[in-house]
């Protein structure tokens, strides 16, 4: 703990973030894209906690930002999954490329 510089944590969260970016670009399933978004949000949470802990250990801003970010991503996931289930009910698939079929529904 004491002998690992802060850069290692930042490189770790960078790898997580760009794994999420890769998944968000390449995936075609809406749920898989949402999983990639969760990876991105998780990487930012790690960054908040690490910056708080290493640079300003006497403050708590990063901790609370990470806490609120976790709660907001839970809310976002719930809404997104509700929308995805509704799309599946109408189209019988959740392919991101073919979502413009929603236009044809009346």
């Amino acid at each position: 703990m004491a002998n690992i510089p802060m850069t290692y944590y930042l490189v770790l969260s960078t790898i997580l973030f760009f794994a999420g970016i890769y998944g968000f670009i390449t995936r075609r399933n809406l749920l898989a894209m949402l999983i990639s978004v969760e990876l991105i949000l998780n990487a930012t949470d790690i960054n908040f906690a690490v910056f708080n802990r290493f640079l300003f250990p006497e403050h708590m801003e990063g901790l609370f930002f990470a806490l609120f970010s976790i709660a907001i991503s839970a809310a976002e996931t719930a809404i997104a999954i509700a929308i995805i289930i509704n799309i599946y009910r109408n189209l019988k698939h959740i392919e991101a490329q073919k979502l413009n079929e929603l236009n044809d529904l009346k």
Binding site: L10, L16, L39, N42, A82
Partner: protein, 173 residues
């Protein structure tokens, strides 16, 4: 002292290896249920990293909300929306190369910036656990460093999400 620092270094690299491998597998595996499982591993290792940084409360929240709540939501929605045809549709290769180039270029740029930054010499210097009482007082106080306003705004956001989720996902007759 020496043994303890070696053990803690090993713990960090174990958590880092789990996170890196699981996150890459989560975005490259074909089956979406496996992707959700790898995401669960990443989230558990992140909770371990928070515990490792002496943020026990944040680690507990990460485990209960993320790993406990969100993953269950994902697994149920995967079961509700899984179709047979999505497995045998390969990712188009130019899109995969585009994603790979974007991710690799971004990672390299960030690593270069970190290497040029002064953070390489910043080490952990607060070995004590953040007291739970301080977190609770800050979360519930309206003073200068209090968080009662975002806390209440978040509770209203969660209420709106519950109502919105029910409204969107219900069956229309």
């Amino acid at each position: 002292m020496e043994n303890g620092s070696i053990a803690s270094t090993l713990v960090f690299f174990f958590l880092a290896a789990v996170m890196v491998v699981s996150s890459i597998l989560a975005v490259t595996t074909k089956k979406i249920l496996r992707a959700a499982t790898y995401l669960l591993f990443v989230l558990f290792a992140t909770a371990g990293l928070y515990f490792y940084l002496n943020y026990s409360f944040l680690g507990a929240v990460q485990m209960t909300v993320y790993a406990g709540g969100i993953i269950v939501l994902y697994v149920f929605s995967i079961f509700l929306t899984s179709t047979d045809e999505e497995k045998n549709q390969p990712i188009r290769s130019h899109r995969r190369w585009l994603g790979f180039i974007a991710a690799a270029a971004g990672t390299l740029l960030c690593v270069y910036l970190f290497q040029a930054s002064p953070w390489g010499e910043v080490y952990y210097r607060a070995p004590e656990e953040l007291p739970m009482k301080a977190i609770g007082n800050a979360l519930m106080s309206a003073d200068k460093f209090g968080y009662i306003l975002p806390f209440e705004a978040l509770s209203i956001l969660l209420l709106a999400c519950i109502i919105g989720g029910i409204l969107i996902a219900r069956k229309r007759q």
